[in-house]
């Protein structure tokens, strides 16, 4: 299976390279994989702008994503559990959640800049908005999917209503919570890069780096930056899947 997966990637890159080498794709529109790899090397060694290396950009972006994601998880997962647990809370809060949810996080950027200024807080706020809703909704869904018979069994054992939340609903919702975390983190990445397009205070950030590459008209560097985002996103998701397998051994 893993052999197949790697060969699929290899095949796509090979076709891409061939089409560039045979001049089917014009060099200026689509840089070849080799060009992208060379660009990646330049980004690591020289940096863009010079002195600002890829590692620095990656760390800055990771920091923003993680902060926004953790704030979203810390609020979103408990909120989802409570909304799944209490019908009253669900009916009260659902309209608020559902009105805020369709607003693209990027539409908040102007307000975020007014409230938090250009910098870490704004970026964290935008990522928070992207990651928050998938986690809330998946957690609620997870709680409602827990079999009512498990709740009844716990009640007959004398477990309190609050105890039901912690001993039955929360662990029962865990598979869906993991789904929420994966989706939330993915959307967090997407919003981060877009948010960085509007500017960063430190000069570091993958999105900011890609915009710089655009300004100096270097498609190879643009693609090297996007490839980095894709690979790091994939690595993070793989890590979550690994943790999920360990935690949800019972599935």
């Amino acid at each position: 299976m893993s052999c197949l997966r790697h060969s699929a990637i290899f095949f796509v890159v090979l076709v891409w390279q061939l089409m560039c080498s045979l001049k089917i794709l014009p060099h200026i529109v689509v840089p070849s994989p080799i060009d992208v790899c060379l660009g990646l090397r330049d980004l690591v060694t020289l940096g863009l702008p010079p002195g600002y290396s890829l590692g620095g950009h990656l760390l800055a972006s990771l920091r923003r994503v993680m902060l926004g994601f953790f704030v979203a998880a810390a609020i979103g997962i408990p909120l989802g559990l409570l909304m799944g647990w209490s019908r009253a809370l669900h009916t009260t809060l659902r309209p608020i959640v559902e009105i805020l949810r369709p607003i693209p996080p990027l539409a908040w950027i102007p307000m975020a800049i007014i409230w938090f200024g250009i910098g870490l807080k704004s970026a964290v706020f935008i990522i928070f908005l992207g990651a928050f809703f998938p986690m809330v909704l998946n957690t609620i869904a997870g709680v409602t999917l827990v079999s009512p018979v498990l709740v009844e069994a716990s009640l007959t054992l004398g477990i309190s209503r609050w105890g039901i939340l912690t001993t039955v609903l929360a662990p029962g919702a865990l598979p869906s919570i993991f789904t929420g975390v994966r989706v939330g983190l993915g959307i967090g990445w997407m919003t981060l890069v877009a948010a960085e397009f509007t500017g960063v205070e430190s000069g570091y950030g993958l999105g900011y780096m890609i915009m710089t590459a655009r300004d100096i008209q270097r498609p190879d560097l643009i693609l090297a930056g996007t490839a980095t985002i894709g690979l790091v996103g994939f690595a993070i998701d793989s890590m979550i899947v690994l943790v999920r397998g360990k935690v949800l051994r019972w599935l």
């Binding site: 498990l150 009844e152 004398g158 477990i159 039955v168 029962g172 949800l248 019972w250």
Partner: protein, 264 residues
């Protein structure tokens, strides 16, 4: 002693509609240490009645009184074992049984001692660390019974607990349950639609009529334990109960299916 006095219960889809009456004016007195089976046609309200006794549903009318105290909520001395086992899939066998001790304040060593004794008595040694997904149906139900019993209920309610098991596990668990009951002196109320099962295990059988549930037949089975499934007297009792049950079965069963079989 467990007393059900004049219990009626109905469900309504919405406030305006007349409610569907599931149990009507049902009174029953169950002695302490009794093994009572409740049988009745499908959809006659047996499960609703058990849920009322367990305190999971408050009846529209009437009261359930256990040892002089009215049952107003779940978890007041009445345990319930479900057909679906209702084990927490994320908890191991050990931790599922431990859930029955959740409301008790016990020291760690005392807690472990109690759980260990159940594990041994129920033949679950070696499976303590297994998750429910790895167990057979019979094993799962043993874990569920152990979990209900460590909670030390005065009454153990069982809602068709062996209905989804294969014939062999079912026979084995019936014998196991009889021995368990004889050893513990607990009151057991066992809901089933399997007449053989009821006659093999219980000392008293109550037959409910079709919905709304009312007591149609209330008989003592005065046979010694352990019982022989093939003995003449058992068979005689079986015939008379089956006949009564047939009378209570809605006519649609016959017209729709052409025939009706009581074996599962």
């Amino acid at each position: 002693m467990l007393q059900l006095t004049d219990i009626s219960h109905g469900f309504s889809a919405n406030a305006k509609e007349e409610s569907l009456e599931v149990v009507r004016n049902l009174s029953l007195t169950i002695e302490r240490g009794e093994f009572l089976s409740i049988i009745g046609p499908n959809g006659c309200g047996k499960t609703t009645l058990l849920r009322i006794i367990a305190g999971l549903i408050r009846p529209s009318y009437g009261r359930v009184i256990l040892a002089g105290k009215e049952i107003e909520a779940a978890g007041q001395g009445v345990g319930l074992v479900f057909q679906e086992f209702a084990l927490m899939p994320w908890r191991t066998v050990w931790r599922n049984i431990e859930l029955g001790l959740a409301k008790k304040k016990l020291g760690r060593s005392k807690r472990e001692e109690i759980i260990k004794s159940y594990i041994v008595r129920f033949g679950l040694d070696g499976f303590e660390g297994c998750f429910p997904k790895g167990l057979s149906g019979g094993m799962k139900q043993k874990v569920a019974i152990a979990r209900a019993l460590v909670n030390e209920p005065e009454v153990l309610l069982m809602d068709e607990p062996f209905a989804s098991l294969d014939a062999q596990s079912r026979n084995f668990l019936q014998e196991f349950l009889v021995r368990l009951w004889q050893g513990s002196g607990k009151t057991i109320i066992f809901v089933t639609h399997n007449v053989d099962e009821a006659i093999f295990m219980s000392r008293r059988i109550v037959l409910l009529g079709r919905r709304p549930a009312e007591v149609k037949l209330d008989i003592e089975i005065d046979l010694p334990y352990p019982r022989d499934r093939t003995c003449r007297r058992l068979n005689h009792t079986r015939r008379s109960i089956l006949e009564s049950l047939r009378e209570e079965t809605p006519a649609e069963y016959y017209t729709k299916l052409g025939y009706f079989s009581w074996t599962d």
